[in-house]
């Protein structure tokens, strides 16, 4: 143990395979008290798998886990929690029908002397916890009513409540915008000071530099590099992850100021339908062919709602939408797709994919009726289309007949993108398209978006990652409380301006 800092847990020669796929091969890793240990790697490198082993979720592995210096074997998450190891899972695992408080204390509910549920204690402790994490939420709200980002915050609060010695955070910020991320980092700093060890997984490279002490890089299930995170550059890390120098993250495509007007939204209003929701109220924007337009905003600022509404998947609306020169009012996703728009939802598991269906079935879903002649689908053409798009997007898989659930998160995301591109749309409506996508794949996706724009498509891209908005978009529209409060050209404005506008500071347009 260098630096004399005690190792809290150690992983020794851990291997784990799924059927024929070896996800982790003889991985060694230690987590020390008071450090943030970043775990890096491209999609499918085995990060989540490794951590699921450590947190007792996966039990059929080979190798040894040590806690303190004693070897242990966990038989379930509860075992690991007892040993002081808690994990925030990449895919949000909360129970939608239970309240925030009930979710946080699920599995270890406080009880009264009569062995009944102590609701009062639960609410009290939840309030304290939420205050500590700086989340403004009623603990009695049902989690199912919360937005993705809020749910992520609840997961974080839940993990914190375990008072774990080792806290594993698997992409905890993927749905958070910078303001919430900042707040979370404050909490992490506190934990570190209190002597906890934190494993931090993220594909947002800027975050690693900000909080990590050490970094381990996985590739194809093996440890390929270890860094002192404080003097590691993003490029170094990225190169270690994908095994070759990264292409430039943001390739500038030719800005098409002159492109023909593709989408024009005037005074879009979506009447309030649900409690606690900020709905678009009077938004106006335009997208030209060949243009990538960003949507920035804080959690719940209405980006998702705006995209859903344009796509016909939201509630009823007022105001005018002119698409390809004609006023349109899609009755639903199907008619929107016919018109030439496609939409990528922000939560691929809930709204994007049939997880146990094959990659093939998922990719061609939007175009099967076009592939079909007289309603009959040619299997060859179907497989051809899927294989082509999967190759174009470099999706990492063994066979297109594998279930999507066997792919890593980033690759799952690409499957959704592939499905959209197969419809040959004019307008892409993207909601957090690189959520959970690794740097390499991100660069590829940006490149693909650039190509799409070049070919004359328009892109409306909502994102919480400011670097992405600044890097990829020509213009960024900032939403706050369901209104468009600013429009910035990325040639002139930077991340700081976007953040300021999102937070409500006046930015000269």
């Amino acid at each position: 143990m260098d630096n004399g800092v005690a190792s809290l847990v150690g992983l020794v020669r851990i291997s784990k395979s799924y059927g024929g796929v070896r996800a982790c091969r003889e991985v060694d890793l230690t987590v020390r008290a008071g450090e943030v240990h970043a775990l890096l790697g491209e999609n499918g490198a085995g990060k989540s798998t490794l951590m699921r082993v450590l947190s007792g979720d996966l039990t059929d592995y080979t190798g040894t886990i040590t806690v303190g210096d004693r070897p242990v074997r966990f038989h379930g998450p509860a075992d690991a929690q007892r040993a002081g190891i808690a994990m925030i899972h990449q895919e949000l695992d909360l129970v939608p029908g239970l309240s925030v408080a009930e979710n946080i204390f699920l599995g270890r509910e406080p009880r009264t002397r009569l062995r009944t549920l102590d609701r009062r204690a639960m609410l009290r402790e939840t309030r304290t916890l939420l205050r500590r994490t700086g989340i403004d939420l009623d603990p009695r709200r049902q989690v199912g009513e919360l937005r993705t980002g809020e749910q992520q915050l609840v997961s974080i609060a839940k993990a914190l409540s375990l008072d774990a010695k080792v806290l594993i955070m698997d992409e905890p910020t993927s749905a958070l915008s910078s303001a919430e991320v900042d707040r979370m980092f404050t909490v992490i700093a506190e934990l570190r000071r209190a002597g906890a060890g934190i494993v931090y997984i993220s594909h947002r490279m800027d975050e690693i530099g900000r909080i990590a002490d050490r970094a381990t890089v996985l590739r194809n299930g093996c440890v390929v590099a270890e860094f002192d995170a404080r003097d590691m550059t993003a490029d170094q890390a990225a190169e270690a992850m994908i095994g070759r120098p990264v292409r430039a993250m943001f390739t500038t495509h030719e800005t098409a100021d002159t492109g023909e007007q593709l989408l024009e939204v005037r005074d879009l209003v979506v009447p309030r339908s649900r409690p606690g929701r900020r709905d678009p109220a009077g938004i106006s924007l335009t997208v030209r062919r060949g243009e990538i337009v960003g949507l920035a905003g804080l959690l719940g600022s209405g980006r998702t709602e705006l995209l859903e509404t344009l796509f016909g998947a939201g509630g009823r609306r007022r105001g005018s939408v002119i698409f390809k020169g004609r006023p349109v009012r899609p009755r639903g996703p199907r008619s929107a797709i016919r018109l030439g728009m496609v939409y990528m939802p922000e939560d691929r598991r809930i709204s994007g994919l049939a997880l146990d269906h094959s990659v093939l079935a998922n990719t061609v879903l939007s175009v099967v009726d076009r592939i079909a002649r007289l309603g009959v689908v040619s299997r060859r053409r179907e497989a051809g289309a899927a294989t082509r798009i999967v190759r174009d997007l470099s999706v990492k898989l063994a066979s297109v007949r594998d279930p999507v659930s066997a792919l890593s998160g980033g690759n799952q995301q690409k499957v959704v993108l592939g499905r959209m591109l197969l419809t040959e749309p004019d307008l892409l409506l993207l909601d957090e398209p690189t959520r959970g996508v690794d740097v390499g794949a991100k660069a590829e996706i940006y490149h693909l978006l650039g190509q799409a724009a070049q070919r004359g498509m328009g892109v409306l891209l909502a994102s919480s990652e400011l670097a992405e908005l600044v890097g990829v978009c020509d213009r960024v529209i900032v939403l706050r409380g369901g209104r468009d409060v600013a429009e910035l050209r990325t040639e002139q404005a930077g991340e700081a301006d976007l953040l300021a506008a999102s937070m409500g500071e006046v930015v000269p347009l």
């Binding site: 998450p77 994990m87 129970v95 239970l98 009930e102 599995g107 009944t116 549920l117 009513e145």
Partner: protein, 335 residues
């Protein structure tokens, strides 16, 4: 911002109150309809006579008790088709043990309850441990329980005679067919109310109940949170079997006989009560209060149709439509 938030929260909680008691709306509506359509005699509304009201509760008590157990199973996203057959098995068991094997009242009841519990637990194991779909496990369970009931009874209804002698059941058992509190409240109705109240308290106030809801809402999340998913599921099926057996004992006591054909089709009635009461078959959402309301709603409906001597076939149509409409109303709750 803050006041907005408070106002919104308040508004949300008013609405959630409304939704919370929505399962009672249907009941109230049907109750009012029953009063409106009640035939009267000597200026008295027949529906509202205390005798009739208690008859209604008595008539739903067996289905109601089963439906309470079914609520648990449905909350974890399962289903139990074996309850009707289990009722038959328990009715036969009570009769055979009391009459042919000369068991005492308490031992007989305990053995029968244990059979129901054990049968339910076994189904739970098949479903939770071996991962076979509950629908199919309990469909098979239905057949097996019926087969056992036939074999145990020799295929015939076993009549229960009361007395002290051999081959006679203790007179106390016949109380199940009686009324208490000045001959007003039927004992089965009383048992139903007790079971329902206990279940409501249990489902509100225990950690176990949170686990039940969590499993139905997101089983994986429940497992990751350290909920003993397998054990909870097994116990839930056990509870359902136990309550079905209790209903079977009451059935035997009320009818002075246990027949292997008792409880035919009760599973669908119980499920209807649960769903009309607003519990989602997808699991994770619902309540025992709703189920009780659902059972009473269906009971009141049956009663008022009968009191008006509506043609049996037309009754089928009306009941079908009311079930759909009631379930449709439930759907208005936020999802």
């Amino acid at each position: 911002m803050t006041t907005d938030f408070v106002a919104e929260t308040r508004r949300a909680s008013v609405r959630s109150m409304v939704f919370r008691f929505q399962s009672l709306f249907g009941l109230v509506a049907v109750f009012v309809a029953a009063i409106v359509f009640s035939p009267s005699r000597d200026g008295e509304l027949l529906f509202l006579t205390s005798d009739n009201l208690f008859n209604v509760v008595r008539a739903v008590s067996e289905i109601g008790i089963i439906a309470v157990g079914m609520t648990f199973v449905i909350l974890i996203g399962g289903i139990d088709l074996s309850v009707g057959a289990m009722l038959g098995l328990a009715a036969v068991g009570s009769a055979v043990l009391l009459v042919e094997n000369d068991f005492g009242l308490v031992p007989a009841v305990l053995v029968v309850l244990a059979v129901g519990l054990g049968f339910g637990l076994l189904q739970g194991v098949a479903s939770a441990v071996f991962g076979i779909q509950a629908f199919i496990v309990t469909l098979a369970g239905l057949q097996i329980a019926r087969g056992l009931a036939r074999i145990w009874s020799g295929g015939q209804g076993v009549a229960i005679a009361y007395g002290e002698g051999p081959g006679e059941a203790p007179i106390a058992f016949s109380l199940l067919g009686e009324r208490t509190f000045n001959g007003l409240v039927p004992i089965p109705a009383l048992i139903f109310v007790v079971v329902a109240v206990l279940a409501v308290l249990f489902l509100r106030g225990t950690a176990f109940s949170r686990h039940v809801y969590a499993i139905g809402g997101n089983e994986k999340a429940a497992r990751l949170s350290g909920v003993p998913v397998t054990r909870v599921k097994i116990v839930v099926f056990g509870i359902c079997g136990l309550l079905a057996a209790l209903a079977g004992i009451i059935h035997a006591g009320q009818l002075n006989q246990g027949s292997p054909n008792d409880g035919l089709g009760y599973e669908l009635d119980a499920i209807a009560a649960v769903v009309v009461g607003g519990t989602s078959l997808a699991g994770g959402r619902g309540s025992v209060v709703g189920t009780v309301a659902g059972a009473l709603l269906l009971g009141v409906l049956n009663n008022i149709l009968a009191l008006n001597s509506v043609d049996t076939n037309v009754q089928l149509l009306i009941k079908g439509l009311v079930i759909v409409v009631a379930a449709g109303l439930q759907r208005l709750r936020p999802s």
